[in-house]
Amino acid sequence: MKYLLLIYGDEHAFEAMSEEERHDVYAAYGDLMKELAETGQSVAGDELAPTSTATTVQVRDGERLVTDGPFAETKEQLGGYFLIDVDDLDAAIDIAAKMPTVHVGSIEVRPLADG
């Protein structure tokens, strides 16, 4: 089954980290990405630019509404994602629990609708 792992965290706290600390986080994500690629469980994954770069688009009554910022203001922001292909939810949860930022942020595990 395919699952999208949505990586949430406090992006201000991330920006406030030292160069070195951030480097460690990226390195850890790189290692995990490699591990998942080797086991054939990774489909895709990437980091997102901060929510300050986000634009939200809606069309209502034929009118296009384009606004600055993410769809919802939240304490933790979506900062990246992994798309994985594994046997079941338990396997997806195990991978989510290995995310380098899971100790400070949250990982939302969402199955794709048609598996």
Partner: protein
């Protein structure tokens, strides 16, 4: 003479978990498994009165359910689902007719129903429905929710199991302790729901008995697991006192004032035999050991309060919580006098200010210490917070008895 309905009822109660668990393993479909089993029972109710009750009712019902499941897979699965269905049919056909010969799949069922990615109320409902074989109506009544609400809760849970890919298996060794704890938490919650139920709620299915049945099953399926054994012992030792917990008017009777001859000695003996006094480490074991202290005291004054206090001490170490600290303070008060207990209660005031048991316990200790006016204030505070009528009447009586 037992009637056909009684035989079917009995089989439904005893065999639902086992039959449904195996049908789910083969079909990966909770609804299909449940409905096939349900239909087999209905078929028995229709045909047995004429044809007679078969020698092995369970085997008959399981075979009928299996055939129903095969029929439905053949009829309902179309398109690309057909390949999977063919394999499932082959697996069902390969099963013998004798359910007793088929491996017990209830452990997988239990772990799936208690999966942490399901909401707690859904875990409880699903476990009672599929593992314990209660009807939706019985569960709805037991939890005082409308039947359609409970039905939706079950439907959503089953849909999530399917759509989110919750596995149907016993977790691997490294995940087992955590997941077992989760299963025990569900069983304990079922028990407490029944334990808290009081007068005016007599229609409630005996959730305590169901919880004991589940605890027994867990202890049977994974034997020699100290915490599962501790849970079973705890439930037996608490349930043993049910006959004495309320008086003829339905009012609550405290442990101290209970008529101990009304305790169920058979359950106590069974519970005590399960309490291993040499190695009590886990929270359920410790709580069982505490219950054992109460249940083995012939009179209230025979209670080994210093041992209870030290067990609570240990419990606070492994599972710290303000409520455990409260109980520990009460035990210390019984062992060393009310003042010692009161000193331990003071630091808990912030955490437990909204908890009526805290104020009730404090009131009782103040009363014992001869501080009547303060006791009255504490009872008032407890009365302002209590939600349950039986407990309110009890607190009212204690408040009135102060004669302040």
């Amino acid at each position: 003479m037992t009637t056909v309905a009684e035989v079917v009822d009995r089989a439904y109660r005893d065999d639902t978990g086992r039959a449904v668990a195996t049908l789910i393993r083969a079909t990966h479909d909770f609804d299909l498994a449940e409905e096939a089993w349900q239909e087999a029972c209905e078929q028995a109710l229709r045909t047995w009165p004429q044809r007679g009750v078969p020698r092995d009712a369970t085997a008959w019902l399981f075979t009928a359910a299996r055939n129903r499941a095969i029929d439905r897979l053949r009829r309902e699965r179309v398109g690309r689902e057909k390949t999977a269905a063919a394999m499932q049919i082959a697996e069902l056909e390969a099963m013998g007719d004798d359910m007793h010969e088929i491996p017990d799949d209830r452990l997988r069922l239990l772990f799936t129903c208690c999966h942490p990615s399901l909401a707690l109320d859904a875990r409880v409902a699903l476990t009672l429905r599929t593992v314990a074989g209660l009807t939706t109506r019985e569960i709805a009544r037991a939890f005082l929710v409308p039947e359609p609400t409970l039905g939706q809760r079950l439907t959503r849970a089953k849909r999530k199991i399917r759509d989110a890919g919750i596995p149907y298996r016993v977790p691997p060794r490294e995940a087992l302790p955590d997941r077992l704890d989760g299963v025990r938490a569900v069983v304990y919650l079922v028990f407490n729901e029944g334990y808290e139920a009081t007068e005016g709620e007599l229609i409630r299915t005996d959730l305590c008995a169901e919880a004991i049945r589940l605890a027994r099953l867990l202890d049977h399926l994974i034997p020699d697991e100290p915490e599962s054994r501790g849970l079973l012992a705890l439930l037996l030792l608490q349930h043993a006192r049910r006959g004495a917990r309320t008086d003829a008017a339905g009012d609550l009777v405290t442990l101290e004032d209970q008529d101990r001859s009304r305790w169920d000695q058979e359950l106590i003996d069974e519970g005590l035999a399960l309490v291993d006094t040499s190695t009590t480490e886990g929270p359920y074991e410790l709580q069982a050991a505490i219950a054992a202290c109460h249940d083995s005291a012939p009179r209230p004054e025979d209670t080994d309060w210093p041992r209870i206090a030290s067990l609570y001490d240990e419990l606070e170490r492994v599972r710290p919580s303000p409520v455990v600290a409260l109980n520990r303070a009460v035990a210390v008060a019984m062992a060393d006098g009310p003042d010692a207990g009161l000193r331990m209660l003071d630091p808990l005031a912030d955490d437990l200010d909204r908890y009526h048991h805290f104020h009730a316990a404090r009131a009782d200790l103040l009363r014992r210490a001869g501080r009547g006016a303060e006791a009255a204030d504490a009872y008032d505070r407890a009365l302002a917070l209590v939600a349950n009528d039986t407990e309110r009447r009890y607190l009212d009586r204690r408040r009135a008895a102060l004669a302040v």
